[in-house]
Every structure is written in structure tokens, then in C-alpha cells.
Amino acid sequence: MQYLEKEKYQQRLAQRQRRGKIFEIMCIISITIGIGMLALLLWYVADQGLHKLDWQFLTSFPSRFPERAGIFGALLGTLYVIGTGGLIAFVLGVGTAIYLQEYANDNRLSRILQVNIANLAGVPSIVYGILGLEIFVRFAGLGRSVLAGSLTIALLILPIVIIASQEALKAVPSSIREGGFALGASKWQVVSILVIPQAFASILTGVILAVSRAIGETAPLIVMGALTFVPFAPDGFMSPFTVLPIQIFNWVSRPQHGFHEIAAAGIVVLLITLILLNSVAIYLRHKFSKNLEG
């Protein structure tokens, strides 16, 4: 009797272990599907677009003929809008983070601010487009300009910048602040001379990551009223504009194959820009973690 049960147990155990092995393989397959799709996407885009990518493509304006069309206007538009928007979000975001992290007491107001920021981060980006259209384009009378686009983008990435900056400030050890106060420094002296320089690299990393998200944003700027065909370079804050992803969208939605190819070339440019920005962020993070050790 005992012998029989032992045999049964051995069988059960082998079966359980087999099941575990199968499950592990299924898990690996799941992850491979995700990463495989990424590889497939990158390969497809490169295969379709790489041969269209040349100097003429980078320096030409859009055209009715795909072989003559380029992304110069869209590139400049992206540079203007994201540059300005990123700068505004940086100033506002770091300011808010400093207030919440260094100044605010744990009272009702700061809790409301915190919950509000978390909720803003979850608002679909297209809703920011509607907001930009109503407040900046129509109400403030800025028109469908670079400035209105920059402000819309700034509000869109503000929650991300705030959250990243808060994390950076949190990572500064409180002994540094206490040391400052013990020497008689005021709050602002502690914050500006001791805390911000410590946290700066990691704040910057967060801002760069937020900006790289903003570069790919299409919907809010379409809704806000950026143009889709811009055969000129924006010449100031009040100029109409388009951005790179909108130009890509415009080409994808046309039926001709020629436009699909230059859309792929545009995507290659967009992805290379993102890779460059992210490399800077990784480099900064790396340098920062070294500083902390040293």
C-alpha cells in the first residue's frame, strides 16, 4: 500500500514539474512576442524608408510629388514647438516639484495638488488638444501658432515633469538639508545652493524623457489646429507650423505608395531623434549615479 502511494507521488511530482516547464516556456514565448514585434516594426520601417532618406529629403518642403517632398518645415516646427514647450514645462514643473517637496506641509492643499497631478497624467493627450484649442487658440487669441502649440505641449508634459522632478528631489538625503539649516541658511538658500545642484542631473533626465514623449505626440497638435501642409519654415512664435509626426500622419493617410515610403523615411528620422535624446538621458543618469558613489 505504502509503496503504491509513493509511486503515485512520484508520478504526480513529475507531472507537476513538467507543467512548470511548459509554463516557463509559455512565459518566454510571451516575452519573445513583445520583443519580436518591436524588432519586426523597426525592420519594416527601415526596410521601407531607409532608401528614401537623403539630404534632399531633410532639406525640402512637402510637395505633391513624393520624390520631391521633404521634412524641413516639419523638423523646424518640431524644434520650435518642443523646444519652447519643453522649456516652459521645465520651469513650471520644477517649480511645482520644489514647492510640493520642499515647502508644502502635509496639508489638504498639497494632497489635492498631488492627487490632481496624478489624475492629469492620466488624461488622454487629445483632451489637451481640445484645451489648447479653446484656451490658447480661441480665448487668448494666439491663433494656430507656434506659441499656442508650445503652451499646449507644455501643459501636456507638465505632470510627467513634476513627478520626475519630485522623485529627483526625494532622492537627495535629508542630512544635506539639515546640514544647511544647522549653519543658519534660509530655506531658499538650502534649496537653491544645496538641494537643486544635487538633484539637477536626474531632474534633467526626467525632463528629457518627457520631451521625447512630446516629440511623438500627434493628436493634441492636430486638434489644436496645427496645419498638415506647410511649405515654409516657421519664422517666429506667431507663425503657423506643422510637426514631424503630423507630417508623417499626413503621408500615411494618402493612398499612393510613394507617400508611404517617405512616411517611413520620416519615421526613421523621428526614431533616430528619440534614440539620440534617450541616449543623452541614459548618459546623464549614468554620470549622476557615479557622482553619488564618488
Binding site: 516575452i31 520583443i35 492620466g122 488622454p124 487629445i126 483632451v127 484645451l131 500627434t218 500615411v252
Partner: protein, 322 residues
């Protein structure tokens, strides 16, 4: 001189400047106090911008949508099954847009949920540290790719494949958008679920192993139930993200607001309708223009509700094992 030493010198100088000169001390301290107050007020005003943003979003939506609902009854808006504001015979029923939106969002979850959860279990329970450190950032890259790129991929790569499988699949369809969107939100599910799983204390796992459980049994019967609040929260957040996603569906799912549950025909989502109106030259103030706010407020309400449920779940069930 090292950087730190330089900084502390600067810092000491600032302090000594005020303290060592008795003629200036009280005056300087008074001025410094005013300065400190001004800084604090400026920072407070800057922080208020995020509150103002929320107030502006809500009031803009409510104001413009109320203009819309003066012309269209809420009852018609919620029950009519035709959405044709841009045609001469106008019907304002949001149902086709809602079903279109949920068709794509649930299709995406159908992909992202099993793949994301299994990836999370692998990363948290099975993968050696070195493998995890490589795979995790690669998976996160998926979340950083611009959505218009996914739209391009869905329309020009996935959709032709689906069409070659069956003739009944149209060029623009919900399925290709859903597949690609599922891949896009996969890292969100896997990364948040993995965080929740790694937060489960080791002692629970060790207890199960001591009783003779296999890795599979520990993963599915101990870790997953213990981390379930974080996992569910990540699912809800991912659904909310899928509902608010715009460019994939605008490019690949079509512009036909049809009341259907078939994933192989062109549909329209709430977000892609808003884009369609924005691209056309609809005069501001017209009823066609006001529809984007009616649709917008519906979208905003749905996503906000989902986000709050997710936050509630995390808050309510957090720290159970501490």
C-alpha cells in the same frame, strides 16, 4: 579645489556676509525674510497652474458641451445608434463611437493582458537578474515609440496580413488597430504588474517552497493572488490608456461610425472622430464643432473614472502584507 568644497565656500560666504557685519545684519535679515516669502508665493503660484489646468479642462468641456446639449437631448445622445453629424441628415447617437472605442480597447487588452501578465511573471519569478536587466528596458522601448508609428505599422503591415488570411477583412479595421495597440500597452501591464509581484515578501514564497510547491505553483497560487490589486490596477490603467489612444485608430481603424461588433470592418472611435472634425474645416460655433466637446467630455469622464478606480484599488489594498 573640489566641486563640493567650492560649493560650501560659496555657501559659507553667503551666510557670513549677513552675520559678520553688525550694521547690516538686521536689515539684511529683514530683506532676506521678504525675499523668502516672495519665493514661496511664486512657487505656490506655479503649483497652482496644474490645478488651473484641471479646472480649465472641466469648465471648457462643460461649457461647450452644454451648448451642444441645448440642441440635442442627452437621451438621444446616449441611445440613438447612428452618429452622422457631418452629413446632411444628422443623428447624434454616441453609441457607434463608444462600441468602436471599446471594440479596439478590449481587443488590445485581449493581447496585452495574457502577454503582459506572463511577461511580468517571467521577469519577476523566473528570469535571472542579468536577463531581466536586459529585457526590461527593451520591453519599455515599446511604450516609447510614437503612436503614429504604430498606426503606420498597423495599416501597412498588420492589415495586409489579416487581409491575406480572410477576404472579408477590409483595409481599415478594428482588429489590426487592436493588435498593435495591445503590443503598445504590453509594457504598461508587464511593468506595473511586475512591480506589484516584486513587492510580495520573500517569506511567502519561501513558505510555499518549504511545503514542496513548484515554481509554477508559487507563481500562480502565491505571488499572483498576493499581488492581485497591483495587477488589476495595471489592467484598468491600460484599458484607460487604450480608450484615450488616438493615432493608431485614426490611421488604421477607419472613419466609419458603424454600430457593429465585427473587428474586421472599418469603425470609428471617439478619439478618431475628434481628429476627423479637427482636420476638416468645420466653422467654430457650429453644431458639428460642438460635437467634439460632447464626445470629448464622454471620453474624459470614462478615462477619469477608470484612472480613479485604479488609484482606489492601489490605495485600498496596499500594504496588506507589511
Amino acid at each position: 579645489m573640489t566641486k563640493e568644497a567650492k560649493e560650501s565656500d560659496k555657501f559659507m560666504a553667503l551666510i557670513l556676509e549677513g552675520i559678520l557685519d553688525p550694521r547690516n545684519y538686521s536689515n539684511k535679515r529683514w530683506r532676506a525674510g521678504i525675499f523668502e516669502q516672495i519665493i514661496k508665493v511664486i512657487l505656490l503660484l506655479v503649483s497652482a497652474i496644474s490645478i488651473i489646468t484641471t479646472v480649465a479642462i472641466v469648465s471648457v468641456m462643460i461649457f461647450e458641451a452644454s451648448l451642444f446639449f441645448q440642441n440635442v437631448s442627452i437621451f438621444e445622445f446616449l441611445t440613438e445608434t447612428r452618429w452622422t453629424p457631418l452629413y446632411s441628415s444628422k443623428h447624434f447617437g454616441i453609441l457607434p463611437l463608444v462600441t468602436g472605442t471599446f471594440l479596439v480597447a478590449f481587443g488590445a487588452m485581449f493581447i496585452a493582458l495574457p502577454l503582459g501578465l506572463m511577461s511580468a511573471i517571467y521577469l519577476s519569478e523566473y528570469a535571472p537578474d542579468k536577463v531581466r536587466q536586459v529585457i526590461k528596458p527593451v520591453l519599455e522601448v515599446l511604450a516609447g515609440i510614437p503612436t503614429v508609428v504604430y498606426g503606420y505599422f498597423a495599416l501597412l503591415f498588420i492589415s495586409p496580413i489579416l487581409q491575406s488570411i480572410s477576404d472579408s477583412v477590409k483595409v481599415f479595421n478594428a482588429a489590426s488597430a487592436a493588435i498593435v495597440m495591445g503590443i503598445m500597452i504590453l509594457p504598461m501591464v508587464s511593468s506595473l504588474s511586475e512591480d506589484a509581484m516584486r513587492a510580495v515578501p520573500r517569506s511567502l514564497r519561501e513558505g510555499a517552497y518549504a511545503l514542496g510547491a513548484t515554481k509554477l505553483e508559487v507563481s500562480l497560487k502565491i505571488v499572483t493572488p498576493a499581488a492581485i490589486s497591483g495587477i488589476v490596477a495595471s489592467f484598468i490603467l491600460a484599458i484607460s490608456r487604450a480608450i484615450g489612444e488616438t493615432m493608431i485608430v485614426t490611421v488604421a481603424a477607419g472613419q466609419n461610425p458603424t454600430f457593429t461588433f465585427s473587428p474586421f470592418v472599418p469603425i470609428q472611435t471617439m478619439t478618431s472622430y475628434i481628429v476627423q472634425v479637427s482636420l476638416g474645416d468645420t466653422p467654430t460655433g457650429s453644431i458639428e464643432f460642438q460635437t467634439i466637446f460632447a464626445v470629448g467630455i464622454t471620453l474624459f469622464t470614462i478615462t477619469l473614472t477608470l484612472n480613479m478606480i485604479s488609484q482606489y484599488i492601489v490605495r485600498r489594498f496596499r500594504n496588506v502584507y507589511d
